[in-house]
Amino acid sequence: MKGTPIFFYIFVMWALIIGGGGLLVSIIAPLSIHGFGTFDHIVDSIVKAAIAMMLVVLWILVMSKIKNWIFQKQISH
């Protein structure tokens, strides 16, 4: 079927969104940072935001690698 690799790519993207969400909810969200007194909440938010952004960058890199892998033939065509 025309466009089959793209269906697979969409499916991989979907799986990564579900998996990444799981990582965010199960591991990163429960993290709690102490020791900064009244700034605990701000530091906690900044650290979690930074980790979330790093995850997004990682997600983009992974998607880019998978894109090159799946579409290598098509792109070189």
């Binding site: 793209i6 969104i17 909810v25």
Partner: protein
């Protein structure tokens, strides 16, 4: 529930009939004012009216204001204001070509009413795992989401009927998902988006009589983003939009900067002798969804459109599965 069903039928009819009825007059008015552009994918030189944004906005406003008279809420107001601001951004770009950064920044500004009216819930919910409370980060997500959905629909508006057809599928999928997660009020508010897109598709499909232009595409995309935030279905909405997101992602990852499609020198798609579409072999041309679809060989414009609709249906199915998964916790 019966009230909602009747109002749902009424606003769907208003949305559809408004666009279906107004668009032919808009086509005539645009043609008289010479507001036409060349359809580059036609063998015989064809000029097509642009932009169709005003009729799309008229359909959305007529139906959403009707909904507001029955069920007044800040959520509906936020949808109306954000969508209208996105239309103005697109209309400005239709009238005068603006820089690549203008649209994302101006669309980010369109999201501000959602924050000011406080119609968001700062939790990001994922299927199977539950939600995370991200009060500060969520504001950034709101500002980020409207430009992403707006530009995603705008970037997929490359062939006759694709943007409106794709939006029809994605927005009806979003409505179904909102019903599955029991968010009936926002599901009701989302109905006009699907019916407006469907009515516009009648004139936008191959061979197009009108193009939505930036004003039409950004209006549709921004309303979709607003519904996702207000309906608290951000992840589901992103999944239903994956083919358009992939198109933007492929384009950005190949050109490596934010620029307008019209600024690209090397075209990703060229024509065969019989004027079918063919993937360009120019290595400097950006990788796009259409170019990848055409990698297996030349196709007609209509055939490429149907492949994109099949991808949209696949993503819609994944979004609906995800909506059901929201009710499951592991």
């Amino acid at each position: 529930m019966l009230d909602r069903t009747i109002v749902g039928i009424l606003i769907s009819a208003i949305a559809f009939v408004t666009v279906y009825g107004i668009t032919p007059s808009l086509i005539n008015a645009l043609t008289k004012r010479n507001m036409v552009v060349k359809d580059y994918n036609k063998e015989v030189a064809t000029m097509v009216s642009r932009p169709g944004g005003p009729s799309i906005l008229a359909g959305i406003l007529a139906s959403e204001f009707t909904l507001y008279t029955f069920f007044p809420s800040a959520e509906i107001l936020a949808i109306i204001i954000t969508t209208s601001l996105a239309f103005l951004v697109g209309f400005a770009d239709d009238r005068k070509v603006l820089g690549g950064w203008f649209k994302p920044l101006a669309l980010a500004g369109s999201a501000v009413p959602i924050i000011l009216l406080g119609v968001y819930y700062p939790h990001l919910t994922f299927p199977l795992f539950g939600s995370v409370h991200i009060p500060e980060l969520y504001l950034a997500l709101i500002i980020f989401m409207i430009p992403v959905t707006g530009n995603a629909i705008n970037s997929i508006d490359v062939l006759n009927g694709v943007a409106s057809g794709f939006m029809t599928i994605a927005s009806f999928a979003l409505t179904i998902c909102l019903v599955i997660v029991h968010n009936y009020d926002v599901a009701l508010a989302s109905l006009p988006l699907g019916f407006v897109s469907l009515a516009f598709y009648k004139y936008h499909k191959v061979p197009s009589r009108i193009f939505p232009g930036d004003s039409g595409a950004l209006t549709l995309g921004a309303m979709y983003g607003a519904l996702a935030i207000i309906g608290h279905v951000e992840v589901i909405a992103a999944i239903a939009l994956l083919p358009a997101v992939i198109n933007s992602f492929l384009f950005l990852s190949s050109v490596k900067r934010i620029i307008e499609h019209r600024q690209i020198k090397a075209k990703p798609v060229v024509h065969t002798e019989d004027f079918r579409l063919m993937a360009s072999d120019d290595k400097s041309a950006p990788v796009t969804l259409v170019r990848l679809i055409l990698a297996n060989g030349p196709m007609t414009e209509k055939q490429v459109g149907f492949v994109i609709f099949r991808l949209a249906l696949f993503s819609a199915a994944l979004a609906i599965i995800t909506a059901f998964m929201m009710g499951i916790k592991i």
